[in-house]
Symmetry: C2
């Protein structure tokens, strides 16, 4: 597997061109060490190997994430692609360290068996996070670079907003990172920017259309939408047939529509109070949380109160994550519901004429982004929907391509956001339902720190010093807190997949503490429990975990959904609340009842449920740790992402727009003008 | 020049890999037609030529722009780069048709002489535009593919907003286009998205900082900005020394600052009524023209009225266009002024701690984008600032790199926005002043249609049918309208450069009409006047124009600025108004007087002037055609783009946010799901 295969040959060179020109051209395609001793010819050798790892030079103490990232020279992304069997015409490089992979690869590899599919999830974390991304990357490094299995890590792309607000990257950490982490955390290949553009084009059209409808009569509106040619003839744009079909109008010549039909067609009659579509920006701008638009004199007093969300909260992002291909994305974008007409009918992006344009804006974003880990194993970074108001998982397309490329002997490690009660539940019941894929193994990440918190340890607050209980051996706290982990293990096992516990090791964890977690979780039903030190040691620190995952993936699975789609909205919500969270029941506020009635009437009751709940507790109260008992889940409101394909009940208030602190971390971010390197990013 | 040079050699191949794998790898690096007859080896040949044109298949009638664009297979952008002497390590491809060129190339080519520098400008146009971009591209195609001179076209990147609003691309048109026009008109490589991100990060920080200052006392603010370590020590972030220097504080240990110094340092004390920094979005969203932000309860009543502009109106865009390199961009971004403190001092992006982060966001955007014309000649697309509130020219960096690559025998054709009274005036007095470059020739584009309008022809309105006067021979109208063109020729000649008139031919122009323009403009001082038919015929239709430009570039130049920077703000404005527009004088409203006083006091009087005036007339009244007389220029207000480096007096109201019509052109835009091609874009 790790053997070299070399082909070589002479290339004649012309004296008209300097040798540097050849060297540069050859280097760019991964032909290294050309032999240029002779004036007329160059000996080139191409090493072909299925995978060539990058050797890590582990330092102690572990340097900052950006220092580790910048100390490693990434392989040319074309080489990474070739190593995993991506053909050169199936890839669009964006510079030398990232590339988009074309969806045509799914056709070519259609008959290829899938690799093993591993989802990484976690317990309910402290506000500091318990290292799911780091574990995902470390596990992939270990499987790929140490066990030499063809392994992909599939990660979410982070929002750029928090990158400049509060320290904390999303590329993993320590010696388990995606590189270059600057590219990962900044624009990447522009997918989030494309989402912003698509989301806001739809928002602008909602506003503009309401304005034009308010200032024009039916006939004038219709005539503008279907303008007459010189000979008086009119045509419908292809997209207009979607609305005509919805209205039950089968005519194809605009001039034959009755006045009533013209009115129905041209006047969407959006009820402003029902509009759920917000504008988005990928910046932490809290002053946009609630705004009034349309105050210019040219907008003639048509002001409206509305909101901005951060871009990753856009339904377009959820669609990117859940779509299975271009055609499916076109349909989903077109059927996004932005609000209801005054008659109570859902109004969609296609009603507004914009579904095609949104698809055009998203045509590159749909291709997953190939990057690599610190040890040179392949990574797909694609889509990053919120884990509360959306499902918090990376894209189906990336996972599918990775599974095909990995093949029968390979592995795909994908991460689900938040704790297992949210991210993994949605992974199984939303993502896997839409993808048709079934996981072979779930890895649940836990830290001694978080378990102690669940056992009654002092509050953990981001930015504040950690209480000594978290740095000293505290077997009682730890033992009590194991209940949270055991609850999640039970949930995961009932889904029918093997479960491996990954204890993400901190230097302050005592051997007795680590042993306690291992013993108790295996007793509690986990297929394995392993201590992993990938943060400090990279893939080498996760070899035992990787081996446990390989073993678990050999076990049979009996994967089943928690609920069937034909259950009512309330039945589905209650199943999740009782069986996953351990709640006694669910209560609904008036707004929630109203929406459940509305969505049922509009025909959306068959969608899966995407609970918008805190990730800090199994209950809806973030302060309740461990395994809370005797609680109900209060549903404040229910919203619909019809294009993405789920309803999301709001349990409490979800912030969809972070703010900037007094000293945002951008104070430290700058460019080294000599080297061009980014400084101060994490 | 057009001869081939070929190098070839055998590559031994291993039977372990299928031949397709080799073919794909070889094709990706431009090695075509490998000879694979033998099982053990492949004969590869590399053709090296300075330039290989794409042959056009000209159709009549001329198809739509997108059909022409999609009918041509672009060369791999790596090949385009190699043809012009860009080394592989100096380029980052974004897919196969666009690439970013690294600024390091300027170091390598430092000693290379520049090519000839040609600016394309126009008369005051009709609202339909007179084809400056098309002429720029057509001229470059002709110089490059027909006269076989190494020629770059340098164009602005268009806003994505209008692409979805009102039909009309910016990639040229007909058989003179940049391809693929979809890529050109959509995200390109994300530069505009980066500008949006940078602009809005600064906006969010303005808002957040004002909020934090309003809710915290000096000491608390200071302690948050310079938090104490465990041992009580504090440090300044490097960027903070910029503010300390401005305040005259030389201390380096935060703990040694007096209470007064801490207050001065930490409290920017922005006067909300002076804030000139708007948020931006690259979408036509008229409802954002005037908004109120901060209406969320968490913002505690700190609401504020503000505005959104379209992204290309951002000062960050103007900086991208005017910067000379990374270090210069860092300084310009940091010194952008967002408003004044209550004490009347300018508050900058660096005062807000964000200049470094903005640079990081713009680090890729600073690299110009390489594309190609329909005939395979190289194009740089880089920056697209507004031509009224900014200077309306593409980037200095793109022009500089193009001039070095073109070399002594080559040509660089760059376009200035709007008419010659605005775009060319700003090209000379702002862009050339900052770049240090001097043009060798100005091409002024005119159409018979627009000249007739200047001669008193009926109104020309976008979207409405054209009056017959514009389709029939009307020598009187034309003769009268020539005054506008002659006025611009005079202005250009006084700048000290040769002037070539390019008559952009329409099929309805009569021979007598074309001849009249030629004769009168040469009599009026033009160095040459040529009819050009590049829209219908590509470069072949512009050969005579290209030859005239080559001849003009051999003439000596005596380039001089219209004004020196040491003149007062008013003196500079008046010089432009009188000498370029032909005004009798300038009047100032109270707001303008106030700002002139403010900016003079703040030390910004030495900046060049960027007039924000209509492009439809030499005067400030868009309805006054030809050469208006007896008018004054009324200055309503004066604004400052201190980072970009100019003051912009507002002559009337400038719209910086377009709207969407009732039937936006996105109704026609969709993706062909079978081919993946974009439909309906222009």
């Amino acid at each position: 597997m790790s053997g070299w295969s070399t082909i070589s040959g002479w290339i004649l060179r012309s004296s008209a061109y300097p040798p540097e020109m050849y060297l540069s051209a050859l280097a760019s395609i991964g032909i290294v060490e050309p032999f240029v001793k002779y004036p007329q010819k160059i000996l080139v050798s191409i090493h072909m190997e299925s995978f060539e790892p990058i050797k890590l030079n582990l330092l102690k103490p572990v340097p900052s994430d950006i220092d580790i990232s910048q100390a490693v020279t990434p392989k040319n992304i074309l080489k990474v692609a070739r190593e995993v069997g991506i053909q050169d015409d199936e890839i669009s490089p964006y510079g030398t360290t990232k590339a988009k992979v074309h969806l045509s690869i799914l056709d070519r590899l259609n008959d290829q068996p899938d690799g093993k599919y591993i989802v990484v999830t976690g317990i309910n974390p402290t506000p500091l996070g318990e290292g799911k991304s780091t574990t995902t990357v470390g596990l992939a490094q270990s499987l790929g670079a140490h066990l030499r299995k063809k392994t992909f890590a599939c990660l979410r792309q982070p929002s750029q907003g928090p990158t400049f607000g509060i320290k904390g990257g999303a590329a993993g950490g320590g010696y388990s990172q995606v590189i270059p982490m600057e590219e990962f955390n900044l624009h990447l290949t522009g997918d989030i920017h494309a989402i912003t553009a698509a989301n806001n084009l739809l928002a602008a059209q909602i506003e503009a259309r309401m304005f034009h409808e308010a200032t024009q009569k039916d006939e004038a509106l219709f005539n503008r939408l279907c303008p007459a040619e010189k000979d008086g003839s009119r045509t419908f744009a292809p997209i207009m047939f979607r609305r005509l079909k919805k209205l039950g109008i089968k005519k194809t010549d605009p001039n034959t529509l009755t006045a009533e039909e013209k009115g129905k067609f041209a006047r969407l009659d959006l009820d402003p109070s029902t509009i759920t579509w917000n504008r988005v920006v990928d910046t932490c701008d809290r002053f946009l949380r609630k705004i009034t638009v349309g105050q210019g004199t040219e907008e003639k007093g048509h002001t409206r109160e509305t909101n901005y969300d951060i871009t990753v909260a856009s339904e377009v992002m959820a669609i990117l994550a859940l779509t299975n291909g271009l055609e499916d994305m076109r349909e989903r974008l077109g059927r996004m519901v932005v609000g209801s007409s005054r008659a109570g009918e859902p109004v969609t992006a296609d009603d507004l004429g914009v579904g095609g344009a949104l698809t055009v804006l998203m045509k590159d974003a749909i291709m997953p982004n190939l990057m690599q880990t610190l040890e040179g194993t392949p990574v797909f970074v694609h889509a990053g929907p919120f884990a509360n108001i959306a499902h918090g998982n990376n894209s189906i397309i990336a996972d599918r391509i990775a599974l095909k490329l990995a093949g029968k002997e390979g592995y795909v490690v994908t991460e689900a956001g938040f704790g297992a009660d949210i991210g993994a539940e949605k992974f199984f019941n939303i993502k896997c339902r839409y993808s048709g894929l079934t996981p072979n193994c779930a890895v649940i990440v836990a830290t001694v720190r978080a378990l102690k918190m669940h056992g009654g340890g002092p509050n953990v607050v981001a930015g504040a010093p950690l209480h000594p209980a978290y740095k000293e051996e505290e077997l009682n706290l730890l033992g009590a807190g194991l209940s949270n982990l055991l609850h999640h293990i039970g949930n995961l096992k009932r889904t029918g997949v093997p479960v491996v516990v990954a204890i993400n090791q901190f230097s302050t964890d005592s051997p007795a503490e680590l042993e306690l977690v291992k013993v108790k979780t295996v007793e509690g039903g986990a297929d394995a429990a392993v201590v992993s030190n990938h943060w400090a040691e990279g893939g080498a620190g996760a070899v035992e975990l990787a081996q446990a995952v390989v073993d678990a993936c050999e076990k049979p699975t009996d994967f089943k959904f928690l609920y069937t789609l034909d259950l009512s909205i309330k039945e589905k919500i209650e199943k999740i609340a009782k069986e996953i969270y351990g709640a006694d029941g669910v209560t609904y506020e008036a707004e929630a009842e109203k929406k459940i009635e509305l969505y049922t009437r509009q025909g959306f009751a068959g969608l899966p449920i995407c609970m918008a709940k805190t990730h800090l507790s199994l209950s809806s109260d973030a302060t309740k740790k461990g395994v809370p008992k005797g609680f109900t889940i209060p549903i404040r409101d229910v919203r619909a992402s019809v294009g993405a394909g789920f309803l999301y009940p709001l349990v409490g208030t979800m912030s969809t727009m972070p703010g900037l602190p007094t000293r945002p971390c951008f104070y430290d971010i700058d460019i080294d003008l000599k080297t061009g390197k980014i400084m101060g990013l994490f």
